[in-house]
Every structure is written in C-alpha cells, then in structure tokens.
Symmetry: D2
C-alpha cells in the first residue's frame, strides 16, 4: 500500500529535489503538487529534469488540494507552515522543509525571524543523539536547515565526547541553489561564476541559532558559534570547515576514535580514510555525508570538515530519511549514498 | 539469478559512471574491477562518489580476473578490446565502450585510427532503425561514441523520412569528462573554466566517420558531415546543434510530426513541447535525451538540437541499455530519465 | 585636452565594461553617469569592480545631465536612443551601444524588433570593408551586436574573396553576460552552471538580420544565414563556429592566404598559427579577436572560428575603438590585446 | 630609460600573470623569458592570451640568458632561487616569486619545506608595518605567498591595534590557478567544477608559518594560526575568512575605526562601506584588495574577510608593486585597482 505524498511548493529547488527523490522511492506515490505563483503551469516547464512528471500541472496550495494524502511536504516561505499544518489535521504526516518549527527557543526565533514563534517539532536530523526516537511515529517533522545539517553532523560527536571547547568557529561554502530560485541580481550566473563571497557575516545568518541549539545540546552546555557562510560558484553542495579548541588531552587518535564510533552504524555519514578529504562533488545528488577530522597540535584545535549536497541530505534527502523513520520504513528507502561525479 | 558483471577500466570516467549505474541495477552483481596503472588501489581513492564500492581494490586486466562473469564491460584504450574479447570466449557478453568495433568501413577506421580494423559488432544505439533486433541475444556490443549518440538521435528521423539534404552541419559542445581523466594541461580546471574552444575542426575528430555511417544508413544514401566539437566549461553534457537543408516541401508541422512519430515509443528520447529547448543540465546523470526541432524558412534549413549526458546516455547508460536488450531484460532496467538539477 | 564622456546606462554589464575601458583611456575624462531604476545609488554598490568610481552616484538619464559632454555613450533598451540623440544635438558624438541604428533595412528592423525603424548610423565594426572611412569624423556610431561582431569578422574575408557559398551556418556560444543584468530565472547561476542550452533557434534571434546584412555586403550578393546562439556556463566570451560551402577551387592554402591578407594590418584581429584554435579565455577582458580557419575537403566546407570577449570587442571595446576613429585618435588608444587568463 | 626585466619561469601561471602586468608597465622593457621544460617553444602556444609576446621563444634558465637585465623575476620551484640569485650578482634586483626567502625562522623553513634555509630577503608586502622602508632600494625581494597576502592584510591591523586574541582561525578559498599549471588529476576541470574541497588541513600547508610570522610580528607577541585552505571552482581569486577572539572592550565601531585608519592611505587596499562584502570577482585581474570587518557580539569574535586575485596582488602584482618601491618608482605604476567583472 503506497504512501501518498503531496508537495506544497513544487516549483522551487527544494521541491524539485524532493520530487526527484520521491520518484525513486518504492513506497511513495506522488499526489498533489502545488505552487503559488506558478499554479497552472506544467511541471515540465519549471522542472525540466523531472521527465516522468513533465505533464503534471501545479495547483494552488489549498487545504482541499492537500487533503487526502498520507504525507504532505511543505516547501513554503517561513511563517506559512503552521496554518497549513493545522488545516491538515493531526493524522497526516506533515514534513516542514522550512524553518518554522526547528528552534526550541522562542526568543531566538523572534530575534532571527522577526515573527511569533510557531512551535517546535521533532527535528529531522536522525543522526543526532535521541533524534530517531523522537521521529518514530511522529506526525510532524521539522527538516533541518542545510548548513545546520552539515555543521551539526561534523561537530556533534566532538561535543558529545567532550573533546571540543565551547566556542565553535565555522566557515561554510554553499552552492547557489541554497539561495533559492527567486531571481535576484547577485545570484545571476554572470555574478556567481568565478566568484566567492560571504554573506550574513558576524552571526546574522538565520541558521546560526539552529547550529547553536544542536551543538549546545550535544555538549550539554552552551556553545557559542561563529558562523560565516559563503557563496561558491557551483550549483549544489556545502563544504563546512568547523573547528574548536581541543580539550585537554585530545590526540589525533582519540579524536578519530570518537568519530569512528559515532558514525560506525550510520548509513549516510562516512568518516573518510585518513588522508582523504571531503569534496562536494563526491556527494552530488546523494544523501551521503563525507566527514574528515584533524587535530592541529600547533593551534591546539580540532578541525572537522563535512561535505553534503545541500539539496539532498541538506534538504529533501533529509526530509525523506526522516519520513521513512516516522512511517516505520527502513530509513534508507529510496535514498542513495552514490554521488553523480564528475 | 543475478547477472555477474566485470568492468575493465574502472578507474576512468566511463568506468566510474558505469559502476554508478550498475550499483542501481536490480539484476546486476558487480564482479571484478580492473585498472591498469591503478591496479592495487582502493576504488574509494579513485572514485570517491561510489561509496558502496569504496573498499574494493582494482585488479590487473587479465583473462583470469575477467573470467567467470556473464558480462564484461571494456573501458579500455582503443586497439585493446579485440584481444580481450577473444580470450573471454563467445559465450560471455562483451560490451565494448571503446571505438574498436563501431565502424563498418575498414578504410574509415584505418584512416581515422591509424591501425588495422578489428571488425564490427552490433551497434548499441537501440533507437536507430534495426538496432534493437541486432542487439537482442547478441554476445558482442559496440557502444557508440558520445557525440554520435547525440547527433544520430537528433538527425536520423529527418534522414529516414527524407526531410534533410545530404550535407549535415553539426556543432556540438561537450563537457570536459568526455576528454577523459588523464591529466593534460589544456584540461586543467584553470584552463577550462570560463573558456569555450573547438578541437578536431575540419573533419578530424574520430567521431566523424561514425556519425557519417549512422546518418548515411538512415538516409539510404551517402551523407556528408561537417562536424565541429567544442569543449565547454562544464563536467558533463553534450549539446548538439545539427542542421541540414530542408527537402522541398518541408514545413514546421511536417518536421515536428516526423519527430513525434519517431520518438513516440522511445523510453529515453523526448521531443520537448514547442517553445522549450534542450539543456544539458536537465539530463545530468540521466539516460534521457532531450530533442527539439525547428524549421528556418529564411535559411531553408531544419535545425535539430539534442542534449544528453555524455557519460550516461552517451557512454555508460547506453551500454547498460544495450546490455539489457542483449540479455532479454526490460530495456529500461536500472536506468532513469530523471536528471540531477540544478 | 581631454574628451569628456557621459555614459547613459552605467549600471548594466555593457555600461560597466565601458567604464572599465574608459578609466584606462588616456584621452577620456568620465563625466555624467546615469541609470534609470538605479539613479541615486552609489556606483560602488552596482559595479564593485570599478573602485576608482565607487563614490560616484548615478543620475537620471535626462538631457540636462547628458549635456556638456563631447561623447555620450548610450547603453539603453532599444527604442530609446533616437530621442536622446536628437536632444543632444548634431555636434555631440553619440555612440549607441544598443540595436536601434545598426540595420539598413527598415523592414528587417520592423520584423525583428516590432517597432518603427529609427534610421541607420555608421557601423562601428572598423575591420569591415569601408567601415573606417564612414566612422572618421562621424558624430553618430551604431555599435554592432556581440554575435555579429564575432561572426562578421570570421566570415567577411571569405565572402569578400568569393570563397564561400551563399548559405552560412553559424552556431555560437556566449557567456551569460550577453543576456544582461536583469534577473531572470533561467539566468540564475544555479541554472546556467553546468548547462549548455540554445535559444532563438531557427532564425529568431535579433542578431540574425545584422549578420545577414554584413555578410551580404561582403559578398556583394544575398547571403542567407542559419544562426543558432547558445548559452554557455561562463560569464564572458563568444565562440562562433561559422561555415559555408567552399567555392570551387578553394584549398586550405588559398583559404589561409585570404585570411592572412585580410587581417595582416588589423591591430585587434589575429589569425592564429596553424594548429592553434581560438579560446574565449585567451581574449577575456581584451579587445582582441582570435580567428582560425579550416578547409574540410570531405564536407566541401570552409570552417572559420572566432573568439571574442562579448563585453569588450563585442560591445564596449568596439565602441571605444570606433570612438577613437571618429575623434581622430589612434584606433587602439586605451585598448589592449592582452587577455586576463587563466 | 626603461627598466629591463627578465622572467625565469615564464610558462607558468605566475610568470604569465607577471608578463601580463609588465606589458602594461610604462617603465619596463621585457627581456629574456625562460622556462625549463618548455624552452624552445613559442610563448604564443603556452600563454595564448599574451598576444604581443606570441612570437617570443622561451630560452633555458641559465646565467648567460638572465645576464644584462636590471630586474630578474624568479618564478621557479622552491630551492632553486638562491643559486640563480648568487650568479646574478648583488647589483641586479632579484624578485623571488617563490618561497625560498620569505621566512625568518630557519627551523620553520626546514620543518615545512624539508630543505636547508636559504636566508631571508625583504618581504614584498608593502602594506605591513615597516615593509616599505625595507623594500626601498633593496636588490632582493621575497614576494609573499598568495594566502599570506590575503590573510595578513586582513588581520594585521587588528593585531597591531591589540584588538585580536592570540589565536587566529582562518579558512580561505582559492581558485585553481594557485595550484599551478602542472597537470594533476585532482586539478582537472572535470574534478574541480562543481566541487569545493579542503587540503593541507590541520596546519600542514606551507603558508601557515608565513602567516604566523606576519601576524606575530604585527601583534608583537606569538600568534597561533589555524589555517584551512580550500579549493574553489574558479580559476582565480582568494576569499579569506579570518577571525579571532575580540579583546576586551572591542566594539563594532572601534574595530572599523582601526581598519579605516590602517588602509586610509593605501592605494590598493580598500575597506568596503558597511553592508558590502568582498567578492573575488570584483578584484579579478586587479591589484586591489577588498576588506570588510564585523564584530560578532554573541561569539565575542572579530571577523575580517578579504578578497584578492591570487595571481595579481597575491603573486605578480605584489611583485611589481614591490619592484616599483625598490626601484624608486611610484608604487602604483603599471598596476590597476579595476577588476574585470562580471
């Protein structure tokens, strides 16, 4: 018996990637597809890479259209998910790919998003301690942000094991799809090709409180986060370079041992062999995470670097993985660890 | 009962893409993997995107290593396939991803490759007239070149229907993976990013006789081909812009009708709706072919443009598609028409 | 005594490139800078690469603002130049970087642009036969389109020498800056990186009649043009692959001799040594044109390939070159043949 | 009277960029050009963007060839400069673009380069405190590494003013030209396009001790450096994201004031207006440095981000700037602050 899934916001990059994955998911049947400004258009014109859905026409995002599905994925601008979820009722699995329900701290939400806090849903990063249990059987999932996915997976083992000091410094490079499909001058190909540039510097990026929340939970104490995102000249991928002071007594061997243990049973997170470093191309289109660690004795710091596909593990793949858990399916169903490279 | 497949030449781009596809093929079990200069290395170091095979170690390309498989794929430098195939015996399906057995004209082979002609095998472009019948049950398959795949699919319907004059003019842009993984200065990222450049101009490219062979066969008379390949700043993809004089009486409608009919039942070749043009990104990592046609009344020419992924439909996907036919499997097994975009 | 120059439309790519060149021009003093929707903004925010002009503020495009200059460059949407030029009076050198005054055939203008024809000004492609004489002392210059620059320079010698048949087939790849700075979804970096796609196929591109005009003039008889532009994943550059049937008796040697003679005294157009092919990276930011020729005996065609920077020789550099001629300056003043590579 | 300059190592990226700048330098006449493995080749085949030098032929790097010049630039593999410089004698200005004479600490040299220390020459980063005085009249110049240029300019004002704690954390992204022109598999266009990856993680990069040296000198006390370089999918440019704990009492205003003062009279280093962030595209091909600062009160850190062109200010432009000072020319002669964008 197939799981019937609707996607609200099917014309954007997150929605497109989700549909790409759902098309390959053996248990899912794709139901209603909606898009606001694009309602009435053929999906083939908006997502020309999704050939099997080319003839589908986008509908308006209304309760009637979204009714009658087992799962509804929301890829909507922030602030809209709560109302839609309420209309869908408590028995439908609602997977919010937006930010609305990620934060536990209402004050942090209001400071960074400037609107009332809608609440907190089980957090869709299964690899975090305790996350799987919260997702099992849940009817609500808050899919993490792309940067928090890359950064939290890189650093939580160090914090959980007490290897890292309470001040994390993170510089991450993202492909341009992370900025969405709405056309803006600085996202033009002419502007981004051949250019690296930062944005949201100095703590201003909205993913900062989410990263802080995850690392603090892993550490069991407050962690401060210096997070600098940069825009890289590539369509997909995040490379997160994360570091913190090493706790007393940390060695390269103890650091590596902690990470080997942390990811030993994880289907999607791979600690690379020594000497090999993550590359975003290697996880292009896959739900895999590549991680490598280093201990810099001169600087007294641990450095952990992760690579993900921002649209797959960072958004739509993470959503499917969490949906699988919530529905009691095998967590890896419909997902791959094989990248499309070169 | 799984089909056991070996891959000779698993460290290059063609071999890597083939393994990516075979990993997703429900009927195939991956057997021996060989590589000459890279024998003894972990595949994870050479193809870091193929995580499920990371621990596999490349072996030497010897008859002993390749023995005991149902299918052997050869991704070898040209000139080597005949000897390997002979050693494997007549009962093993040998799929040559190199050029050795593509041409029917020994003189053309010798002129373009400068070595004795090894022979001709059934040609692995199933969409061409008569090709499927030749592939069914065959134990030998010559996988087409990437450019001939893109160009032949674009133009054969026009030639078969008598709509195109006998002089085809083709300009194609290819991603850099088409030039292989051997490091050469002009293929460095520093050189190719931001640059378009031609090569093999004036008929010198080795794919020219293969294109000529296919179009002439479709036309039932000799077609001359002016073929100019260009190197584009992208890793994958071919965009082929193909044109010829329109035969008397051709109209935009008659042209379109011929193509609609030609591809109506093809699982991988898609004539786009009017007004939409192929883009290589849309077929990234997929076995799909996007085609669009135009009739330029002022110039009296028909223009047909196709987009493929040079590594998928243009090489490894075409190989798997033809293998499926040869083995009696559904032709689409293990292959997708969904691209990874953006 | 400096030439005082105003630029109307200083916030776009053509205007920015023009300012980059004028800043290096020893005889020019940069006067008023205007931009419509961006009036009031600092140029540093719009063109952050032009540091010496960072503090300049864009003004409205009005006759008052543009008054009092020796030269006024117009980088405006088509249809607006005639009115502005009239207001400026006959003694000011007006250099129109738009399309309004390029075509001699009013019917062709109306067919392709859908508005009344404004007239014809001396055509700013000095290398064409007779063009320099028309530009000397002129107070009006129509700067050619970027594609017509690349294509006309590639093919006019063959047509002028009677080497090429009357049906030219042209496929050109352009960097994305040719599509301008107005944000549109298909020009997003996420869309263009990794993708080649055609547009304006089948004769629909507005540069087609301009190319036809130039080649027909060189041939002294009507030439028909099949022109297919494609969008390449790079910010700048045009690679034009141009071919035509070879006239009877053409040889590789006679073809090369014609091009050697045609460009022998040209400061910006370089016939490359045999065996070397144009690359857009080599002319990045320069006013140089790289050209190479081939005779394909099998196909009976001549192939000429040119590379330019669409913003420099294709737009702003061509404008400055023509301005130099009109003002009686050395044609190469302020221009370079040195590219920025890699 | 022109300065006659020779370039040893003219076939690589550093040598090519140097020639590009020297061609535009009004006081320099380009003399001998040498290259080891490429001796005997036309420069036009190796550096096709340098049209005015296309006919020049590379010579062997011998004392005889390099004799008779006022300035000799060395773009050689490390370890070779000392012997060449000795042969040239004390009256020739020798500008070493390699690493041999950058470090003052012989032990650091030996640890990172594994060979005996050749000595220390005046350091060609004029913006550092005291650097100009040491360069004036000098006959020997050690050109800084590209990363140390970007990082030292970003952080030295904070350290000199006592605003930054003694542990700097730096993550920098570089275009691929920084890795040179020798073809290696991981530098192929197919590998780098669409990919971000780190290297030399954990303190292993050879630029680490040079950065440490510069920041410690500015601070007047030892600074430890955590430096992570990453390879970005672009040919040129470095974006350096640098941070350190803020000293007590630092505010956004005091931080900005220090940087305004530090760069107020610098011709090439530009503190951007508040709200605008550096982008490597803006300094493409220019000697300019874009810098922006932020104070993150939550994290208690200062963040300074700089963008340079690794080949221009990061290598060849810095060399010319220092040469100008050594020769008593205006420091900016032949150099520009105008980038080639988009």
């Amino acid at each position: 018996m197939a799981v019937r899934a609707a996607v609200a916001g099917a014309s954007g990059y997150a929605g497109g990637e989700l549909l790409r994955l759902l098309l390959a998911h053996p248990e899912v049947e794709i139901g209603a597809l909606t898009g606001n400004s694009n309602a009435g258009q053929r999906l083939g014109a908006l997502q020309p890479h999704l050939l099997p859905l080319a003839a589908r026409v986008l509908q308006e995002t209304t309760p009637e259209v979204l009714a009658g599905h087992d799962v509804v994925f929301l890829a909507l601008p922030h602030g809209q998910s709560a109302a839609v979820a309420e209309q869908l009722g408590p028995d439908v699995l609602v997977v919010d790919m937006g930010a609305d329900f990620r934060l536990t701290d209402a004050a942090a939400w209001e400071r960074f998003y400037g609107s009332p806090h809608a609440g907190t849903w089980p957090y869709g990063l299964p690899e975090l301690p305790g996350a799987r249990a919260a997702l099992e059987g849940s009817k609500r999932i808050a899919v993490p942000g792309c940067y928090p996915t890359a950064v939290s997976l890189a650093l939580f083992p160090a914090y959980a094991a007490g290897l890292a000091g309470p001040e994390a410094v993170i510089v991450a490079a993202s492909g341009t799809s992370g900025a969405g499909k709405a056309p803006k001058p600085h996202l033009l190909g002419s502007e981004v090709m051949g250019s690296m540039s930062p944005y949201g510097v100095g703590g201003g990026h909205r993913h900062t409180p989410e990263i802080t929340q995850n690392l603090s939970a892993a550490a069991g104490e407050p962690v401060t986060v210096s997070f600098t995102p940069t825009l890289a000249p590539m369509p997909r991928g995040i490379l997160a370079t994360c570091s913190a002071k090493a706790a007393d007594g940390v060695t390269a061997e103890s650091l590596r041992a902690v990470y080997e243990k942390a990811f030993a049973d994880e289907p999607f997170v791979h600690l690379l062999p020594e000497g090999q470093w993550p590359a975003t191309a290697s996880v292009h289109g896959s739900n895999a995470v590549q991680v490598q660690v280093a201990y810099d004795a001169d600087a007294g710091r641990i450095i952990v670097i992760s690579a993900i596909d921002n649209l797959t593990k960072g958004t739509a793949g993470g959503a499917v993985q969490s949906m699988n858990i919530a529905l009691g399916l095998d967590e890896t169903t419909g997902l791959t660890t094989i990248g499309v490279a070169p």
